[in-house]
Symmetry: C2
Subunit: 163 residues, 2 copies
């Protein structure tokens, strides 16, 4: 039983690692040239601080996720992993929110501020962006499941066990 639990746990961590890795790869590989009237420009993630933050945050979580996969089962570091999971999940959530806010303006524009949507001119870039956001979102969901499971195991907040 404990062994099955451990395999499930590692499998979830591997999925989360793959998800954040894909998010980085998809976001970094997204660039598209377009011309706006007479000006030609290249849409890529470095054009917006929010997307740069997204790539950095996802890279950090990917590296962390990779190392945690090789942590031995009896290591005392697993206690630190709960705190680290929490901090890095927050980092990931924050980067997704920022990127999503910018992506929303890129897709729909903002009439009040006279910001025009750009997804019509760079549809491929926008698709990459969406893909990266979805991948990263899957990563966050998995980390949230792992975290709530840890908290449930340690604290039993819903008082399901008798004490």
């Amino acid at each position: 039983m404990a062994k099955t639990g451990r395999i499930c746990h590692l499998l979830l961590r591997f999925l989360a690692f793959s998800a954040t890795l894909s998010a980085v790869v998809v976001m970094v590989s997204s660039h598209e040239k377009a011309s706006f009237f007479t000006v030609s420009f290249e849409a890529k993630y470095t054009n917006s601080p929010a997307f740069k933050y997204f790539v950095i945050a996802n890279s950090i979580v990917t590296v962390y996720g990779f190392f945690v996969l090789f942590l031995p089962a009896e290591s005392l570091l697993w206690r630190l992993v709960v705190a680290m999971d929490m901090v890095l999940t927050m980092l990931l959530i924050s980067s997704i929110s920022a990127a999503l806010a910018i992506a929303q303006v890129a897709k729909n524009g903002n009439n009040y501020a006279a910001w025009l949507p750009i997804c019509g001119s760079v549809p491929k870039f926008c698709n990459h962006m969406t893909g990266a956001l979805v991948a990263s979102f899957i990563g966050v969901i998995i980390y949230l499941i792992l975290l709530l499971h840890s908290i449930h195991t340690v604290l039993d907040p819903l008082l399901l066990r008798k004490t």
Copy 2:
């Protein structure tokens, strides 16, 4: 000693509650009329989905923070509070990041997407926005301290205590 700890804890929670309440009040009360060429428009938080999300998230955390203040010390619900704290801190972080991403575009614009900065036309609105973001950020920092303290107490991740 336990009593001092409890007073500190309640004081921190009260500060967090005040911070998120201020963020809501400052954001909702921010509106400024301006004219762009011949078009006059009113800048307010409802103009951007990110700011609406910010107000909703901060309101939810404020209401939660208010009720937790009156939870009796011996209540078993305190175990649930750790999990709730975590989820609501994530909600708050996510809303701040989204609002900050939009505020950054409002302040500096984005050359690549041809989005012009608007803070020059509506400086008062931008000041309110900054104030609300700072207040909410203070709230997040306090919730993070509370959370890491809970995790430290329960899990002792840095192994400072002998087991």
